[in-house]
């Protein structure tokens, strides 16, 4: 038995972890109930099974050569970090990257992850040309032409089968820099208007919003950009990202992150940003993965860990974003800068999170007694707005709420049962939210 949790370090459990390095081992393991696991970067209980079997897929880490038109076949256990390192020197980049490279391809597809380019490039799943999935009913080779049998695995949180391999179409790049435009806004309305007006001109866009309970609540820093071309820069390079240079060696004492320390951090962060700057070349890892520079930063949240609350609401519910920010500030639950983004079109995957409109993500320390109730209230607002919460980040939703947020859960469960009639693919997330019950 080993002790396991998600990135939020909440609800840790004992589980029996089985490391696999071949498809035969995956197929054999599927004779009994299990939860697939990659790098454990989902925040909650998606990649664990208390008292049960967890299948560690990091050993399926092969990466093929890249074809001239940018296709690469990758083992589901390979990390996006390894993939970027392998392909960047030849001028390729991943078409979509989450805020950390320390995720496996399998985990990223199981969550159908999005990046700062969702408004124009969709989720990572949109760039997959072929999936290999092993379920109790056999080995499945699938392409987007297979329709729902292909899409059901994207965002399925490991509940339809074990993804063992995928072929992706990479993005050609000629440098390892992004040209970044930065703008600072004094309030939420200003930054939201700027995003609606101008995001379509950029491949990448994201805003950091201050949710601290101060007069400056809602102030924001908007960063947008696109890959630099060789002639944009003097001395362009194609170098792999630098590894983390800092680490948090021990778990912080409880209460380190409180309303005061977080407000001070947010203040520094805003002072550092220029009011307006155009065309600044930034390294890929600085732009996409700033948190990867500090290993184990989740330990800063102390022994009780953190939850991330990420929701999406349609455009006409922009008010929900404002209400969430002001309720959070009023509750004095300390939140580091929140991340605000615009989503583009949704895809046909029944449990995929992104839907057109806004998404806001908040990192919150577990501890303030008001937090569970505050988040339940936000759930109600999000449901009323026709929105949803991201399952890859969740550690506290209620079963009934999920059904209101994901109206296609019934379709999902029916399709999942075709790949796994005896419900062997499960997880604590599944057991808590009863996802396979539809």
């Amino acid at each position: 038995m080993s002790r396991l949790s998600g990135w939020g370090r909440t609800a840790a459990v004992e589980a029996d972890v089985l490391e696999v390095t071949s498809e035969e081992q995956v197929a054999a393991a599927l004779a009994a109930a299990l939860a697939p696991r990659g790098l454990g970067r989902s925040y909650g209980d998606a990649a664990q099974l208390a008292g049960g079997r967890v299948l560690d897929l990091r050993g399926l880490d092969a990466i093929s050569p890249v074809s001239p038109d940018g296709l690469v076949t990758v083992g589901a256990g390979a990390s996006l970090d390894a993939l970027v390192r392998a392909v960047i020197p030849a001028g390729w980049f991943v078409p979509v990257t989450p805020g950390t490279r320390q995720v496996t391809l399998g985990g990223a597809l199981a969550a159908d992850v999005h990046g700062k380019n969702h408004h124009r490039d969709g989720t990572l799943g949109a760039h997959v040309t072929r999936l290999r999935v092993i379920s109790p009913t056999g080995i499945h080779e699938l392409t987007p032409a297979d329709g729902e049998r292909f899409f059901v695995h994207l965002g399925a949180m490991g509940l339809t089968g074990v993804i063992t391999e995928a072929t992706l179409r990479l993005l050609p790049v000629s440098t390892d820099r992004v040209l970044v435009d930065t703008e600072r806004f004094d309030d939420l309305d200003g930054v939201m208007a700027a995003m609606v007006e101008g995001d379509h001109r950029y491949r990448y866009s994201v805003a950091w919003v201050d949710c601290a309970a101060s007069a400056q609540r809602g102030r924001a820093i908007l960063t947008r950009g696109d890959h630099a071309r060789v002639d944009d820069l003097a001395g362009a390079t194609l170098r792999p990202p630098r590894p983390a240079r800092l680490a948090v060696p021990v778990t912080a004492p409880p209460g380190l992150l409180n309303a005061v320390s977080v407000a001070a951090f947010n203040e520094l962060w805003f002072r550092r940003a220029p009011r307006r700057r155009v065309g600044e070349p930034q390294r890929l890892e600085t732009f996409f993965h700033p948190l990867d520079g500090v290993r184990d930063w989740n330990r800063l949240y102390g022994p009780r860990g953190l939850v991330q609350y990420q929701f999406a609401v349609p455009d006409d519910a922009a008010e929900t974003v404002r209400t969430a920010v002001s309720r959070l500030a009023a509750s004095r639950v300390p939140s580091f800068l929140a991340v605000l983004k615009r989503f583009g079109a949704a895809n046909p995957a029944p449990l995929s999170f992104p839907q057109p409109g806004w998404t806001l993500a908040l990192d919150l320390p577990v501890g303030p007694p008001a937090l569970p109730g505050l988040l339940d209230d936000l759930d109600a607002l999000v449901v009323a707005a026709g929105g949803r919460v991201y399952l890859a980040k969740d550690a506290r939703l209620a079963p009934a709420t999920v059904r209101a947020m994901y109206p296609r859960l019934g379709d999902f469960a029916a399709l999942a049962a075709r790949f796994d009639p005896e419900h062997r693919l499960t997880s604590d997330l599944d057991r808590r939210l009863r996802l396979r019950e539809g």
Binding site: A50, R304, L371
Partner: protein, 255 residues
């Protein structure tokens, strides 16, 4: 499953009609507990407690009847509760207890023995069954209702206090036996609480109603406290009181 805030979904209560347990269940049902199995000896009172659990948010609250003087039946009771839950159990609350009447019971072998069955023997047997089922699940938590009366036994309630002391010490041992199993145990040590058990008894200082106890339990479940005191100050008070010389202890506590 417990969520990130330590809120359970499936709860079994042994002693489901207990006033303290009901206050805890009201809070758990209002949070995430949708299945609450209640076991007790009085079917009518159980049905009322079950309805209350549903009023506060539980979707189902099946009931199991038993009598705690029948120690041999404890395994059956626990098995029935787990079966009625229909899912893996996140939390088992052991609330069975009876104060008895010290003066009348102390020279009566039948009554003294029966008190020990209800306060000690039946709980011990039930905990054995609970331990086996939860360890097989590989997760879950147990809340044992001990008492400050277990910390140092008073002349005026030594039958109850002695049996509770046995349960309290046993539970701390049981807790350590669970290391590495995924199962854990919380020991609740309330002071004097206004409930039907204590109705008519003189109220000592630091007496509370059931709500502060329930609040302490929910906080303890959220933070993973191995020992939960209510009110919390009792932890420090007992640290001093338990070391008083015997005469002084008697003078203070057995007035």
């Amino acid at each position: 499953m417990d969520n990130a805030f330590g809120q359970p979904q499936t709860v079994v209560v042994l002693g489901g009609t207990s006033d303290i347990a009901r206050a805890v269940v009201r809070r758990l049902a209002a949070a995430r507990a949708d299945t609450v199995v209640l076991a007790g000896r009085d079917a009518g009172a159980l049905a009322a407690a079950a309805e209350e659990a549903r009023d506060f948010g539980a979707l189902q609250s099946p009931q199991v009847t038993f009598d705690a003087t029948d120690v041999a039946d404890a395994g059956r009771v626990v098995a029935d509760c787990f079966a009625a839950a229909g899912r893996e159990v996140d939390l088992v609350i052991l609330a069975v207890g009876r104060l008895g009447h010290q003066e009348e019971d102390q020279d009566d072998p039948a009554r003294a023995g029966e008190g020990a069955l209800v306060n000690f023997a039946w709980p011990v047997a039930a905990l054995a069954a609970v331990r086996r089922l939860l360890v097989a699940q590989g997760h879950g938590r147990i809340l044992v209702m001990s008492s400050v009366a277990a910390i140092r036994v008073r002349r005026s309630a030594y039958l109850y206090g002695g049996a509770k002391a046995g349960l309290d010490r046993l539970a701390t041992g049981l807790a350590t036996s669970l290391a590495g199993t995924g199962v854990s145990l919380h020991l609740l040590r309330p002071g004097f609480v206004r409930t039907k058990m204590t109705a008519g008894e003189p109220e000592p200082p630091l007496t509370t109603g059931v709500e502060p106890v329930a609040e302490a339990v929910v906080r303890g479940l959220a933070t993973g406290q191995p020992v939960i005191w209510s009110p919390p100050v009792l932890r420090w008070a007992m640290l001093v009181l338990r070391h008083l010389p015997a005469r002084l202890w008697s003078l203070v506590m057995d007035r």
